[in-house]
């Protein structure tokens, strides 16, 4: 199908973009990489009055390390992030997640900020960013605010970003290997129909161990099992301070059951998703621990 008519604003600055969103009064939509919006326009699931193009705004692309965090600007292409040494070295979980996102044709256009804003419950970048305790900066004509990803995802394709706000950048706290010998390990696993498809279920784990192999920090996030990507705090709390081995992981896996509410759809049944969530969580946790082990 063909998109319905709309007005097109090619924003050359962040100020122009937020002004166009404000003028749109809720009926203007941002196009970044277009990998989710273009299908929605073609199928007329989205019929905005105005499309605001942010691809020409230079301040919206780039990756930099500033003050203990790595900042990825919203319009940075997924392919650029995947190839970035900064991402590979300092945000290994994000690199692992992006390697599951789409295909070369879609990663060359699709953006990091676009994936977060679109908030498909089965997409990989939101899941990794949630496990990494990332934050996003949002800007409207009224000013800029920051939102933790834990508070950002409200439901399938629904986020805390208001219609008049633009996602500027994503802040990832750096978790470097400590001088005290602490080390970080990460793992990302998913089941999908084909490589590059959206996940049926996905698991992201990030574990920090001290020099003696005890867990200082544990993060486990699951996707495809709720309307939003979900951390499993009860499981994380039980792993902290312990020495994580296969028996320890198996002992805490039951915490997942209460935290997830998977549904049935054409891809998988709820029961299958529950089962796979446990399997992938176990695999991701053990692999992250092995990577972090001194």
């Amino acid at each position: 199908m063909k998109a319905a008519k709309f007005d097109y604003v090619l924003a050359e600055s962040i100020e122009q973009a937020v002004a166009a969103l404000a003028a749109g009064n809720g009926d203007a939509i941002i196009i970044a990489g277009g990998q989710s919006l273009m299908p929605m326009l073609a199928m007329r699931l989205a019929t905005p009055a105005t499309v605001v193009d942010i691809n020409n705004i230079a301040q919206l692309s780039g990756i930099e390390a500033i003050g203990g965090e790595v900042v990825i600007k919203a319009c940075t292409r997924q392919a650029t992030a995947l190839a970035s040494p900064l991402v590979q070295m300092r945000l290994p979980l994000l690199a692992k997640a992006i390697s599951h996102v789409g295909h070369q044709q879609t990663r060359n256009r699709g953006t990091v900020g676009g994936s977060l804003s679109h908030a498909d419950p089965a997409s990989e970048i939101p899941l990794a960013a949630l496990a990494m305790d990332a934050r996003v900066s949002l800007r409207s004509v009224a000013g800029t605010r920051e939102v933790a990803l834990a508070d950002f995802f409200l439901g399938p394709m629904m986020t805390a970003r208001a219609d008049n706000e633009i996602l500027l950048k994503v802040h990832f706290p750096e978790e470097p290997d400590g001088p005290d010998g602490s080390r970080m390990g990460t793992a990302f696993h998913e089941v999908s129909e084909r490589h590059g498809d959206f996940a049926v279920v996905a698991a992201a784990a990030q574990i920090q161990l001290d020099a003696n192999g005890r867990c200082i920090k544990a993060a486990l996030a699951l996707g495809g099992v709720n309307g939003v990507p979900r951390r499993i705090p009860a499981l994380e709390a039980r792993l902290r301070g312990t020495r994580i081995d296969p028996d320890a992981v198996r002992a805490v896996l039951p915490e997942i059951a209460d935290a997830i509410t998977p549904g049935d759809d054409q891809h998988a049944s709820a029961a299958y998703r529950r089962r796979v969530a446990g399997v992938l969580a176990e695999r991701a946790l053990l692999e992250a621990v092995a990577e972090a082990a001194p």
Binding site: K2, G34, Q105, T106, N108
Partner: protein, 161 residues
């Protein structure tokens, strides 16, 4: 809605046009530039038949607006021919190795393969599968497509020596 002027380069030739913002780049290439080698499959980013090179990297032309191509350089499947218009090395290899049946997916497969071989003259089967992972083919079963890309790669290596 008002039309917008765009200027872009396609296969080394400059095109200027006035287009509606809602026009996809895919429809522009076929209906306005007359380059029907690029195929319309699903029109929503699933099949890869519409793949083109955009500033040298493969993308899906159904997932871009024509206005977004203003000032950019595009290569379509027509641009993979030799200068005299005869099939280029990849196209020859697809023909010889039976890398196509109905031909619907072929322009996208050729573009993905072109992008792969531009940066990797000796791709493994896994690398080839990854490169064409975003292109669906309903006829060949993919095996002959992979063989065609291997054939083209080996010829390009020989020619380069």
């Amino acid at each position: 809605m008002s039309q917008r002027e765009i200027n872009l380069s396609i296969n080394g030739k400059t095109y200027a046009a006035a287009v509606e913002p809602r026009l996809s780049l895919l429809d522009f290439l076929r209906d306005h530039a007359g380059l029907t080698g690029t195929h319309v499959g699903c029109e929503h980013g699933v099949c890869g038949a519409c793949s083109i090179l955009f500033d040298g990297v493969p993308i899906r032309s159904c997932l871009m607006l024509a206005v977004q191509a203003d000032g950019h350089a595009i290569t379509t499947v027509e641009g993979l021919c030799n200068e005299d218009g005869a099939p280029g090395p990849l196209q020859d290899a697809f023909q010889e190795a039976h890398g196509l049946q109905c031909g619907y997916c072929t322009p996208g497969m050729l573009i993905s393969a072109q992008a792969l071989l531009a940066g990797n003259s000796d791709p493994s089967i896994a690398e080839i599968k990854d490169a064409i992972g975003g292109n669906l083919c309903r006829c060949t079963g993919y095996v002959q497509i992979i063989e065609a890309i291997q054939l083209a790669a080996s010829r390009l290596r020989e020619a380069g020596q």
